[in-house]
Amino acid sequence: MSPSPRPPAPALLQVSDLTKHFRVGGSVLRKARTLRAVDGISFAVAPGETLSLVGESGCGKSTVARSLVRLVSPTSGQVTLAGQRIDDLPAGTLRPLRRRIQMVFQDPFSSLNPRMRVRDILAEPIRNFGLAKNRADLDGRLAALMERVGLPREALSRFPHEFSGGQRQRIGIARALAAEPDLIICDEAVSALDVSVKAQIVNLLQNLQKELDLALLFISHDLAVVEHMTHRVAVMYLGKIVEIGPRRDIFAHPQHPYTRALLSAVPVPDPGARRSRIVLRGDVPSPIDPPRGCRFHTRCPHVVARCKIEEPRLDPIGRDHLTACHLA
């Protein structure tokens, strides 16, 4: 088990050694195998800060999100919210605590029930958590939410299909805000949007964070967006965090070879820039049978013998900056 990095303020969310394994393919003829989606990760999120979880598809970042809001039950590990353990609570006890962690989903189209009006979509969490004292209070809250996310109040009586992708994502954000959470998990929340709309939503999230002192767990594969809006970053590869640290350390002085490769692979909108690109060979191995030793050794440009045998620990290399590499 690796030590969890300390955020600057006392943690709002503390995740220790979180693990989620799925059983796949079991049948009469074949033994079920284990897919190690998340394999023992630890991090913390302070109140009002943005921690970004980055990595490529299959690295387990979405599974982390789903485990935190208990859409899947973690296999092992601890999740503590403001000092209270929430990973082992039965569903009934958990429900009131759900209010404090909300989620914005990737697909603005399928994340809104097509048969419900915006009013009912937003009222659902308010009613579930008993936040409105009466009808007038509910109406006031709904109007305030619409204003917060920049939608006209009249839109409350419309159905999701009457909105564009960006507007739908605003509705999704309003739904998350309706519960008055401390932490919002954005699972690829801007990935499906067009450039100009993406900028609007990113700015909206940043404004909301400042106004409401929200903590954000921002899950994304888009490194430029992440660098633009995050305070801290955790880089995941095959179910593990390989590097975690403050924004500037990760983007300006990345230490793990995977982080470096990831950063250098992002196309830069500057035709003149000739950068030395680290092009990784091959594909990400399957999380069903991850490589022994360092999980990155099959693609690492600096691999040495030790990497294939011994798994590196996530060790501090600077203030709040940890990396899991023998050569760092």
């Binding site: 789903r66 809001v69 859409l71 569903a91 429900r95 009131p96 759900r98 209010r99 962690i101 909300q102 989620m103 989903f105 990737q106 697909d107 189209f109 399928s110 994340s111 809104l112 029930n113 097509p114 048969r115 419900m116 659902e124 969490p125 579930n128 958590f129 999701p160 299909h161 999704g172 739904r175 309706a178 519960a179």
Partner: protein, 316 residues
Amino acid sequence: MSATFVPRAPGAADGIRASAPPDLAIAEPLPDIIPPRKARGRARRLVARHPGAVIGGVLLAVVLAMALLAPWIGTVDPTALSPTQRTRAPSALHWFGTDLLGRDIYSRVVYGARVSLVIGFSVAALASAAGLAIGLVSGMMRRADGIIMRIVDGVMSIPPILLAVALMALTRGSIGNVIVAITVAEIPRVTRLVRGVVLSLREQPYVDAAIVSGTRPSTVIWRHILPNSLAPMTVQATYICASAMIAEAILSFIGAGVPPSTPSWGNIMAEGRALWQVKFTIILFPAIFLSLTVLAVNLVGDGIRDALDARMAKDV
């Protein structure tokens, strides 16, 4: 594109230009290449776009009206025997002729529509309701799913019509029993459909969102899953209705359906069976009505499906 359409530049382009500063580079407005749709009434647009559904709807409405207004549309008592008028060909007096016992076939066919429609709609409603309930349970509760699905598989391995015949053999022939027998035979199909729909709806992000918003599981089913499974369910219900009408005719035809005293299309055909080489009209008319009604219901079902698909497509 119609051949007579002449592309037209919109607006008074030259007039606009006149008011512009002289050195301004203005884009030439382009003509529309699709002629504007002719202003047509809603009804004509519907016919043009969904001819099948409209034909089906009209046919079904006619059969419904016939069934409802049976006593007032030139019918006589469909069970009245008239030994002197047996097996007559169609005439002004007996539009569709008479059967072996001298009963008026037109009247029997018209009253038979009542039986077919009642059975068709009842089975559709009952099988959908039961299938929906079982399918929801099966789709939502993993533990119940295994058991329910094995039972469904078992029932589905018996051809539905044989199952209905077997069930009818246990009871007396009556409309109620026919409805029950056919419903039981149809339930597994609906259950499978609903379960499939529920399993895919469960994966929808808006269901995840509802759970994260603190919605109780029962409310998730009631508010998010049930309403969204009704659309495919409605389409399926029309097909069940059509197949129930055929099943009723088959049961009655082989004498395992409604009692022979009640005129139903299957009964009329059963009675005409012996004579079909000499007097094929006895079988012909109920057969035409059965086919047309089944076709109408299927067309309406296709229409509903297309309308829902279009809405889904627009939604995505």
